[in-house]
């Protein structure tokens, strides 16, 4: 491996000024003169912007003229310009992996701006270390793997639906996996949507139908991801189809029941004797043990809740010849192969009862904004009449508590802004003004964050409609034990006066948090999350849909709070990103993987357990047990290479001799 087709190393060093970014602090001439003295260095050059075309040409030309074996560019970061200089290296006719970068800007001139001399010395060290590595670099050939021409979207909210539709429309067969019995997500629980106030169901239902009808989408509701194996281009995903107890017409046909299967008639629910709270209505309306969430569900197939079903069989009887109900149904595991996957796992409402001071779940007339959505919605449990849970009366004075649990650095809150609660609270204010004559919304806020297109205008409109804004966070709420009215205590910080406002109802704009199974699902896909649990994008600005796991992308709120327009936009971005490898047909893997030096490998297998990416296994080869690397899975982290007691693992591009040479170059200060 380490054996080199080049007899001796001939290194070219190129120093970048980056305008004054580097040259303003570091003495380039001094570094240049020093570099000439480093062993193996045959050319040293410098330029104002190495990344420019003339700068790149310098590299290519020098390779040809001086027959160089390795290139060192001392400039910014590999993250920014490694691809640039690799291309320049290749243009000179050298294998692009014979390039090494020394960061003398971000980690040097920028941070040591006021110590030019020390910075110059540090730059000399950095160049010397890079030369040491460049002298030992080898030719590497990236591997290509074919990509399975199917995709998966996990989560069937508006984000997941949009991503699936885009992929399907691009001609890619897509599995849409949704854990609940219907797609639609949170958006189907909303009444109207800001800032245009269109009816949420009206714009969502057609999309739900599109998803259901699309030939390229295989809709798997009531299904969860159980296991994920493989890597970009070749994921094997095991799914658990939870026992639904009701057959679709297709499933019925497969069982030989001609013309059978669920038609969504609902006769079963009629006769079912078990009554349970409907989670879609946040427990404010009942459902049976055999149920649908709401009339617009997609697919329109009933579901048996086996946790509450008493197996009386009444539904089976009422279903009759359709024979759709199978009370002995069991969970089913299936495995599908996909090339790329998108996670669109959405969010849950933070359990706001943890903020004891606002009395949610303790005072009847304190509700959350999501409950408000259901109560104000014509298809909701009260037919769209907003009423006080305590007495069924119509509330007239309604307080909205913004940032309820958001922007809260205590251990009973979330530090981030939940991003849509300002806007939907403005919407709610509008809705009560519109629906309830004489009603006054009081909005307790710290800042109104109306940053989107037409959002500030919406704020203007609601203010004009008569909503009252009080700039102060609510300190606590107390309940009048007799009237069940609520006293909202706060400070009007603009007046500088404490307020005790008696209202009929309080709506908490509760914070949101990652949905319950996000943690489990993201682990299966090897996706990281930030401290607050939202899934981590590959780069916050330049790669907001990607993740650090190749082939896995993010859409919607699971990546961080965002409203519907942003969710849909990100979903389209994620769908586009997820389709690229599929359209290309193959993906190139960086050749930074481990290589087993089979003659040294003792087959002990201990590395297999060390690898965090399950890339290693033991195989029989020529009568011996040796380790085998699945290159596409290996991330080149080096855990195994550092660990192997026999030194039998060679980490390409980060091999032990290369790293040792770098350490020597640093510690020995250039002396051999």
């Amino acid at each position: 491996m380490a054996e080199d087709k080049y007899k001796e190393a001939r290194i070219g060093v190129f120093l970048c000024h980056c305008g004054t970014n580097i040259a303003g602090t570091i003495d380039i001439d001094a570094v240049r003169e020093y570099a000439k003295t480093i062993p193996n260095v045959v050319v040293v050059d410098n330029y104002a912007y190495m990344c420019s075309t003339p700068g790149q040409n310098k590299i290519a030309d020098a390779i040809k003229e001086q027959n160089l074996t390795g290139i060192v560019v001392a400039a910014c970061t590999p993250r920014l310009h490694e691809p640039t200089f690799r291309n320049a290296t290749a243009a000179g006719g050298l294998n692009p992996f014979r390039f090494e970068m020394a960061n003398i800007r971000d980690q040097n001139s920028w941070v040591h701006m006021h110590q030019p001399e020390e910075a110059t010395e540090k730059a000399k060290d950095a160049v010397r270390i890079a030369v040491a590595k460049a002298s030992l670099l080898e030719d590497l050939i990236p591997k290509s793997v074919p990509v399975e021409k199917t995709a998966m979207v996990v989560g069937g909210g508006v984000g997941g639906m949009q991503a699936a539709l885009d992929l399907a429309d691009a001609g890619i067969k897509t599995y849409l996996v949704e854990k609940s019995p219907t797609i639609g997500g949170r958006m189907s629980q909303l009444d109207k949507t800001f800032p245009t106030l269109d009816c949420s169901q009206c714009i969502l239902t057609p999309k739900m139908v599109d998803v259901y009808r699309n030939k390229n989408i295989e809709l798997l509701t009531y299904t969860e991801v159980e296991a994920v194996e493989g890597y970009i281009g070749n994921f094997d995903v095991t799914l658990r189809k939870k026992a639904r107890g009701v057959l679709t017409p297709a499933e019925a046909e497969a069982r030989g029941i001609v013309g059978g299967g669920c038609t969504g008639c609902g006769d079963c629910a009629e006769v079912c004797p078990v009554i349970k709270p409907n989670p879609f209505e946040l427990g404010m309306a009942p459902r049976k043990a055999i149920y649908i969430y709401h009339p617009q569900v997609s697919p329109l197939i009933y579901t048996v809740d086996f946790d509450s079903c008493v197996k009386c069989g009444l539904c089976v009887e009422s279903c009759g010849d359709k024979k759709a109900i199978d009370l002995d149904a069991k969970d089913e595991l299936i495995t599908v192969k996909v090339g790329t996957a998108i996670l669109a796992l959405g969010y849950d409402i933070y359990p706001i009862e943890k903020k004891f001071e606002w009395g949610y779940k303790n005072y009847d007339n304190v509700i959350t904004s999501l409950e408000f959505e259901r109560l104000i919605c014509a298809s909701g449990p009260t037919g769209g009449h907003l009423i006080r849970p305590s007495d069924g009366e119509t509330p007239k004075r309604i307080a909205f508590v913004l940032c309820a649990g958001s922007r809260d650095n205590t251990d009973t809150g979330k530090p981030y802004c939940s991003r849509f609660c300002c806007m939907y609270s403005l919407k709610h204010a509008h809705q009560i003004i519109e629906k309830i004559p004489g009603a006054v919304p009081y909005i307790f806020y710290m800042d109104i964050r109306s940053f989107g297109k037409m959002y500030e205008e919406f704020y203007y409109r609601i203010q004009n409609e008569g909503a009252k804004f009080i700039r102060g966070r609510v300190a606590n709420i107390t309940e009048d034990p007799v009237t069940k009215n609520l006293h909202v205590n706060a400070e009007d910080t603009l007046l500088g006066r404490p307020i005790d406002m008696e209202v009929d109802m309080v709506v908490l704009a509760a914070a949101i948090q990652p949905s319950a199974e996000t943690e489990k699902t993201r682990r299966l896909f090897g996706v990281s999350c930030s401290q607050d649990g939202w899934l981590l994008e590959a780069h916050p600005k330049l790669n907001p849909c990607g993740t650090t796991t190749a082939g896995v992308y993010l859409a919607g709120v699971c990546q961080g709070p965002k409203d519907i327009p942003d969710t849909v936009a990100q979903a389209e971005g994620a769908a586009s990103a997820a389709s690229i490898p599929i359209h290309k047909g193959e993906v190139e893997l960086e050749p930074y993987f481990a290589v087993c030096l089979e003659d040294k490998c003792a087959g002990c297998g201990m590395c297999v357990y060390q690898c965090p990416y399950s890339a290693l296994s033991l195989v029989e080869k020529d009568g011996r047990t040796v380790m085998h690397v699945t290159e596409a899975k290996c991330k080149g982290c080096g855990t195994c290479g550092g660990f192997c007691p026999g030194g039998a693992i060679w980490m390409q591009h980060f091999a032990s001799p290369q790293i040792v040479a770098q350490i020597d170059a640093f510690l020995l200060g250039g002396e051999q």
Binding site: E357, C403, R407, D408, N409, T410, G413, M446, R471, G472, R473, V474, A475, N476, N489, A490, E491, D492, T493, G496, P498, I499, D500
Partner: protein, 193 residues
């Protein structure tokens, strides 16, 4: 610095006093000291008013805990320490329990009071408590009526404290003397009398 107008009429001068905030009005060290003594990062206050909204003293006075936080952040030492409202905090800790920024406004107030005391600004009753403890070990000492009641209850006339064991008093006095507390209390009370 506020514009000096040198008006002869004192009443007018006060009425028309320049009320703008100028950077030189502020002492940045003040914030640092408040944070150090109070052990709370007061500069993280985002002025939400949860504290004032929780405060039992606010509805019945001009005391606004939020404004004290603001003054700490802006370094308005003079204004904060000379404000008689500084002494209206009952230390109920409601604000501290509810502050969404996880600050302890109560402890910031305590810190400002400590700093006020360094400038001899302190209500008399606080100092009288110091004197009583120096003398007897108790802020609320025993008296004859109470002794009689204790006896009736079958308790010792003097409780098992420094009252019954005055030999512990010198230790207490040494601690107070270490901080010159008694000395300062006597002096400030005498000056104020």
């Amino acid at each position: 610095m506020a514009v000096k107008k040198d008006y002869k009429d004192q009443k007018l001068a006060e009425k028309l006093r320049d009320r703008k905030y100028y950077i030189p009005d502020s002492n940045p060290e003040f914030l640092k000291e408040v944070e150090k003594i109070g052990q709370t990062p007061a500069h993280m206050c985002y002025q939400c008013g949860t504290c004032t909204g929780s405060c039992p003293s606010a509805p019945r006075s001009s005391y606004r805990i939020r404004l004290f936080m603001r003054k700490a952040v802006l370094g308005l030492e003079e204004e904060a320490l000379t404000d008689p409202d500084l002494w209206l905090c009952t230390t109920c800790y409601s604000c501290t329990d509810r502050c969404p920024r996880d600050l302890a406004p109560t402890d910031a107030i305590m810190a400002m009071r400590n700093l006020a005391f360094k400038r001899d600004i302190v209500p008399r009753n606080f100092l009288q408590t110091v004197q009583l403890i120096y003398k007897s070990g108790h802020g609320v000492p025993n008296n004859d009526a109470n002794r009689a009641a204790r006896k009736k209850l079958g308790l010792d006339e003097e409780p098992e404290t420094t009252h019954k064991y005055p030999e512990y008093l010198p230790g207490i006095q040494k601690i107070l003397d270490h901080y010159k507390l008694k000395e300062n209390a006597d002096r400030i009370l005498a000056e104020g009398a």
